[in-house]
């Protein structure tokens, strides 16, 4: 059965996204426009855009799903996503903006001019991270489409990929900024409205008191993560956010380092407000759709909740709103990832031209669609958590030490990133192949961040110390450029 309202919401979101993109097309003219909107985006716009870009399938669907699936442990994910932004503010926001790099590989090159191999390795890591991050978005799209409209699941990724390609190819970053900013507020509304209606319905109900009384036992009954896993996830999310390529590219659109910091503080507020909603919906999900906790469809909690509580037209209409918001989430995160992925690919293989950017965009979306269609989804927030662990073990040490430690060398950076990538990647792969065992070594394989992030840092520092003679001679100048406050003019 095809739910007409939900299908309509989906079409409206896709068409609106593209219309805003075409509006932006008239404004973007040069390559610089294309990549970073010429660095003239104001903090509020930029903050909304960052929020829009960051709140992915994992946030929109995954958080509530995880709360239903694993109870209180699920609450750590939105905290980690938000606190990760605080870490970004503390260590990365302003210096990275001042570095005047477009992408993370650019940063690597600015810091270590003569090391081509460091740039190459950073580019490949960025490409891998982006793809790993896009795939769960595509899974979310497949799940949403099949549950909400009854259409075959593979169509979801294809729709998302097509809209993203058109948006990014036509307008680049400038239009993406408008699209992203719009999508934050749209996603917020798409969860606020159903949450309010559900709470109005639920709170006066007689049965809800009884349900609430049972919730205490229910909340404790759900098997959560143990202490090691919780701490490992906290570390992965805190340090992983630092290195997310699609998030970092947004900071280049701030006019100054101080503007980058103000933007980040606004983002903290926007994220905190947003995450109250999936948390509330997750608790409602525990009350009204607890059967989803045992199934593979726990990520669909947000989608199924409105019609589980309310009947008739209102339930359908609210479902349609949520479906629209979910697609906005897939579209915004995917287009942000595709922009940074295409940026990295085109600089590496097409000398950074606009035409190369467009070809790279198509390449960047095609592969994840294929992967998403042939693989099946696991818990969205968990899958994204793995990407954060990988980023925290690779890009994060490069950025932190590159920005703050003048004795870092190119060889040290390469060694550290490779050590982190191999350790984290291997243990994630091995743990997914093994059947679940309740032993510490298995938890350490499944949530590697707690040891793989320190490992990457230690290797990076040790190898840099060993190759201390190859510290670039311009290091002090670069460090000054990263940290000395810029004058308030726009470059």
């Amino acid at each position: 059965m095809i739910n007409l309202l939900s299908a309509l919401a989906l079409v409206v979101v896709c068409v609106t996204t593209m219309l805003i993109a075409f509006h932006g097309l008239r404004l973007s003219r040069t390559t610089s426009d294309f990549y970073v909107a010429s660095r003239t985006v104001r903090p509020w716009w930029n903050a909304s855009a960052i929020g829009g870009e960051y709140l992915s399938a994992a946030s929109f669907l995954g958080v509530a799903g995880l709360i239903v699936l694993s109870g209180q442990s699920g609450l750590w994910f939105p905290i980690g996503y938000t606190a990760g932004y605080l870490m970004l503010l503390l260590f990365v926001a302003a210096p990275l903006r001042r570095s005047q790099a477009y992408t993370i590989p650019d940063f690597a090159q600015i810091r270590f001019e003569e090391s081509k191999s460091l740039r190459k390795i950073t580019t490949y890591l960025v490409v891998v991270i982006c793809w790993l991050y896009i795939v769960p978005q595509m899974h979310g799209a497949a799940l949403t489409l099949s549950i909400a409209t009854g259409l075959p699941g593979w169509l979801g990724p294809v729709i998302v990929a097509a809209v993203v390609c058109i948006t990014v190819v036509s307008g680049g970053m400038r239009s993406v900024t408008f699209v992203q900013a719009f999508q934050y507020w749209f996603k917020l509304a798409a969860l606020v409205i159903p949450t309010i209606f559900l709470l109005i319905q639920v709170i006066p109900e007689q049965s809800s008191t009884a349900r609430l009384e049972s919730i205490a036992t229910q909340l404790e009954a759900v098997a959560g993560l143990n202490l090691y896993e919780t701490i490992s996830i906290i570390l992965a999310l805190l340090f992983g956010t630092l290195g997310l390529p699609h998030v970092l590219v947004r900071f280049y659109t701030n006019p100054t380092g101080q503007a980058a910091r103000s933007t980040t503080v606004i983002v903290l507020g926007l994220l905190s407000v947003f995450y109250l909603l999936p948390t509330t919906l997750g608790v409602l999900g525990l009350l009204y759709t607890p059967q989803l906790g045992g199934s593979a469809e726990s990520d669909a909690t947000v989608l199924l909740l409105p019609s589980a509580v309310l009947d008739g037209f209102l339930g359908d209409a609210l479902t349609a709103i949520v479906v629209g918001g979910a697609f906005a989430a897939f579209l915004s995160t995917t287009s942000g990832l595709v922009v940074s992925l295409a940026g990295a690919l085109s600089q590496e293989f097409f000398a950074g031209t606009v035409r190369g950017f467009r070809i790279s965009t198509v390449l960047a979306t095609a592969l994840p669609v294929f992967i998403a269609v042939v693989t099946s989804s696991l818990a969205l927030a968990g899958a994204i958590g793995n990407v954060f662990a990988f980023t925290a073990s690779t890009i994060c040490p490069l950025l932190l030490l590159g920005i703050w430690w003048r004795s870092l060398t190119a060889r040290g950076a390469i060694a550290g990133m490779l050590a982190g990538a191999i350790a984290c990647g291997l243990s994630l792969i091995v743990s997914s192949l093994l059947s679940e065992v309740d032993a510490l070594w298995f938890h350490m394989l499944r949530q590697p961040a707690a040891w793989s992030v320190p490992l990457a840092f230690v290797v990076m520092i040790a190898v840099s110390r060993a190759t201390a003679r190859s510290i670039p001679s311009n290091t002090d100048r670069i460090m000054a450029r990263l940290h000395v406050p810029d004058r308030d003019s726009v470059f």
Binding site: Q72, W76, A83, I231, D486, R487
Partner: protein, 130 residues
């Protein structure tokens, strides 16, 4: 009133004779370039290093506070189950802490850091612009 009397203690009188304090400040002229591109003078390099060090110390302090808080809360919940006995509207206290309570703390930490980092930069500007 003590200061007006002739037999006022000596320090007060000296204070009156002291020339008025003049605040020395560089002009806010935009044509003055901060030596960002190449800090040639060793003094300049020293100021930059001081700036980096103070910013890093600030960031590490806030990050350490955040990590301690988060790890502390997770350890508290793991080792002190009695905390689940407290409940508001039947929802146990840990859910309120994790679901709602931490976010304002994160925002406040961000705002405080933002102000402090801007102050560090202002101090750097005021001493280095010569």
């Amino acid at each position: 009133m003590k200061r007006d009397s002739p037999e006022a203690p000596l320090p007060g009188r000296f204070a009156e004779q002291r020339p008025q304090r003049v605040r020395v400040q560089a002009p806010q002229d935009a044509s003055l370039t901060i030596a960002t591109a190449k800090p040639e003078h060793t003094a300049q390099e020293f100021y930059v290093q001081q700036l980096i060090r103070s910013q890093l110390r600030l960031a590490c302090a806030v990050a350490a506070g955040l990590l301690t808080m988060l790890v502390g809360i997770s350890a508290l919940l793991a080792f002190w189950p009695a905390v689940y006995e407290f409940a508001l509207w039947h929802i146990p206290l840990p859910w309120w802490i994790l679901g709602v309570g931490i976010y304002p703390l994160i925002i406040v930490a961000g705002m405080l850091f933002n102000g402090a980092a801007a102050r560090n930069e202002k101090r750097y500007r005021s001493i280095s612009r010569d």
